[in-house]
Symmetry: none
Subunit: 502 residues, 2 copies
């Protein structure tokens, strides 16, 4: 490594440490912190994030970056340093375009908006949230202006979470996806053999749920020597470096799916972070390359593996041993159908595989209209409910179960939602490639053998961290751009079978 | 508050936040961190401590301090700002003498040393720890050199924990203490009525031990809304601000004293931190004024309260209800004698009140020899064992139960140990004053009423935080300098009674 890149790495390492410290404080905040600690914790996190930001945008850093750029100019992208400098330059440029006045106002307004949103949701009172949301929408539109010229006002927003993914492309993909998912949903409802989820809606002892979840993710490959599993209100994965990647879950005593699939989902995120090659540690490349690719990993393990029939061929007998009274007489086939029941529901995070993307597309369309100025904030609840009827055939009884359900808009996370659906598509695209490369994949899973699958993901996805942009990674691995077809094929095959369609 | 002191407070607040973040990372390191996280954690702590140090010693800070000094020059010490500026100036001067490179190296080496010490202790393998300890000893000797001229090479070290306490004074006090404690130990052994600790050496269910400990410290006044109790290898108290003060303990399934008195001990530390007045929060005065004063609080609650007869008049019936099989037939008098059994033992934290200080004096002497260069690290186990024989008449069977037992040297805490013994002395000095101010103190304790005692401590000690130096505080409250006599009176009375001496 050249001396100038070495210097850049040092500065990035310091910033990495500050961000890792913030992550530890955030983890503690959501797992063990006593209530009294909240106020001081907010102060500590604010200080750490300001110091980290200052170190990133300062002149010293800019100079070090420029020197490193000239040093790596002729290196191929496969070179860690070349990739590191490229990605750093991109982030530096993005941050530099945004005036500090905007940053200050945005952080002030989102900090104000969060408790307002919480109250509004608790009381199903959208008008209470409306003025705060109007300010945030205005600020995000101002934000887009810093990135002129753009093709679409939404482009700079989505780019924060999904580098290099234009709105046009997302729209094109969603336009194919939407009618076919709506059609599939209609088919299951009108022609499907009804599915009962009664087997998973029983009183499952929480400690046994935890034991089973731990046993499962150990077998999937989660390394408890370099991570741990705790409880949190909202499940999440967090990394303090590639050798300390922690996950959290939550337990519903009356519904098996909640903790189990949350745990596998977060395990999927964690396997990605734990699998990054050590040469990238303590740099900004020591993380997933984008939200969609991250979500492809969590959704793959959760759904393509965890909600598959082969998986339960291996694990259902063990689950029955743990819950003989509840599941002893339930057949594998019925259990498998129960965990895969399709039912239009109000809340995104509870949605099944067949309806999940519809929740996302609804949000994506509303965000675009808000940003384009064709939808006013005050008309948002009505627009939300209309789309819920169109796509899912149900109407929220109040705004708490409708437009107010997600935290994202209160922190200004416009552009984030689409990555959830894109993650599903990426997962399916990768899965078709994996099935080619590992012909007996399903047989391996049915024997609870995950080493082959994990090795494939390690080699093709995990180890690279954020070295390649998502589109590059997808091209390298599948030879293709993002396409909705594999996911649609997956959905049709799976739910055609679960619901005995045709 | 003047504008210049306000500015100083801002800068101190930022430093406080960085230190609080380090404390959270340190807490996590000793409670929940998976083994794989150790290396990155060392790096993160090193970065945070360097940034904190840099912010403290930088020219900006120096200028702000000077301005504030002129602003508060005419204010009395009772004024928060005046005290804050005075203490800050002292710390500034101390830190200014220490180069950032040393701070970074020290933090890195001590963070690395911790898991090495843990492994060495687990395997009773001193040679495994030796290289790490040699580095730390070297670094601490280098540290002392930054404070030349000194009266004694050990002075700068002890001053970090006990401001204004010269080695000479500690030696003088210990020279009075040692022969009288050795004599008391001899008397109990040769003339005392034998005490059996069989009642506390039974198989006590750990979960019940935990429940009892929690119930006790709640009644003592520990606020679980602003703290929590976790398990750790070495019990400790840590504060992230006065509203988040956490304690840890450990459980021995075959010995009741271990967790119980550790928990009360740490609770005593935490009551001090939780009792600091809120106007001092987010400043360096939001902590105990010294380790000895801190230890006076922990030892007072642990021993003067928790190992007293009146305390068990209140709590023994409850303990019997929890462990009817083990304690149902054990009389209060025998239980009281059991928890106060005097017996030379290998492990400091298990030592009874009559032998505890002997463990401390041994460490104090070894530290002085290590720092003076008259003892090499490799000869430490032998020197340790020789003094164990001289003072306590016993020899450790291995180094895990000898020289490796304490965590302190692994974090470079040379100068720390003597404060434990000094804490006992301060506790006794305060206790004589409290007994004067609250004539029915013992009766209150026997009714499990601790509000009066806690209010006295809040008023006279806790609320001040680090506003006054230890010697000032002791003078304010007792009208005296540090003296060993009250503690010797306390020991002779208590163990004269427990052992039916004379």
């Amino acid at each position: 490594m050249g001396a100038k890149t070495e210097r850049l790495r040092e500065l990035l390492g310091e910033i990495f440490d500050l961000n890792a410290a913030s992550a530890v404080l955030g983890w503690d905040q959501q797992t063990y912190m006593p209530p009294g600690g909240a106020e001081a914790r907010a102060q500590q996190l604010s200080t750490l994030s300001r110091l980290s930001h200052d170190k990133f945008v300062c002149d010293d850093f800019g100079a070090a970056l420029q020197s490193a750029q000239s040093e790596v100019a002729k290196l191929p992208l496969e070179n860690d340093d070349a990739a590191l400098v490229r990605r750093t330059a991109r982030d530096f440029d993005k941050q530099h375009r945004v005036p500090s006045e905007w940053v200050a106002e945005f952080s002030l307004e989102t900090a104000r908006a969060h408790p307002i949103w919480e109250k509004a949701r608790a009381e199903a009172d959208f008008p209470h949230f409306k003025p705060a949301l109007e300010i945030i929408v205005r600020l995000k539109r101002d934000y887009a202006e810093f990135f002129r010229p753009y093709e679409h006002v939404y482009d700079p927003l989505i780019d924060d979470f999904e580098p290099g993914m234009p709105t046009r492309q997302v729209k094109a993909v969603f336009d194919i996806l939407r009618p076919q998912q709506v059609e599939l949903l209609r088919a299951t409802k009108e022609h499907g053999r009804p599915v009962s989820d009664a087997p998973v809606r029983q009183a499952f002892d929480i400690e046994k749920q935890r034991q089973f979840g731990v046993a499962v993710i150990k077998e999937l490959g989660y390394d408890f020597n370099r991570g741990r599993l705790d409880k949190a209100v909202h499940p999440f994965t967090t990394s303090f470096g590639i050798d300390d990647v922690r996950i959290t879950t939550r337990y519903d005593p009356d519904f098996l799916n909640d903790a189990l699939f949350s745990t596998i989902h977060e395990c999927g995120h964690a396997l990605y972070e734990q699998g990054i090659t050590s040469s990238l540690d303590r740099t900004p490349l020591a993380s997933g390359t984008s939200m969609a690719v991250h979500e492809s990993q969590s959704r793959m393990w959760e759904n393509f593996v965890g909600r598959s029939r082969p998986f339960w061929v291996a694990f259902y007998p063990r689950l029955q041993v743990l819950f003989p009274g509840l599941l002893g007489k339930v057949k594998l086939a019925d259990f498998y159908r129960a965990i895969n029941k399709v039912e239009p529901s109000l809340i995104r995070v509870d949605a099944d595989e067949a309806t999940y993307n519809l929740h996302i597309m609804l949000r994506f369309e509303l965000e675009i209209e808000l940003m384009s100025g064709t939808l006013a904030v005050q008309d948002l609840p009505e627009a939300w409910n209309a789309r819920m009827r169109d796509y899912l055939g149900i109407t929220p009884p109040d705004d708490a179960q409708g437009v107010l359900q997600d935290v994202h808009w209160s922190f200004g996370g416009f552009g984030y939602f689409p990555t959830y659906a894109l993650g599903n598509l990426v997962a399916a695209q990768l899965w078709e490639q994996i099935a080619k490369d590992i012909p007996d994949l399903e047989a391996q899973i049915a024997r609870a053998e995950f080493a082959g699958l994990l090795a494939w993901l390690r080699e093709n996805i995990h180890r690279h961290g954020a070295k390649y942009y998502p589109v590059e990674l997808l091209q390298r691995v599948t030879g293709q751009d993002l396409t909705p077809e594999p996911y649609l094929r997956y959905l049709r095959r799976k739910f055609g079978e679960v619901y005995d369609l045709r």
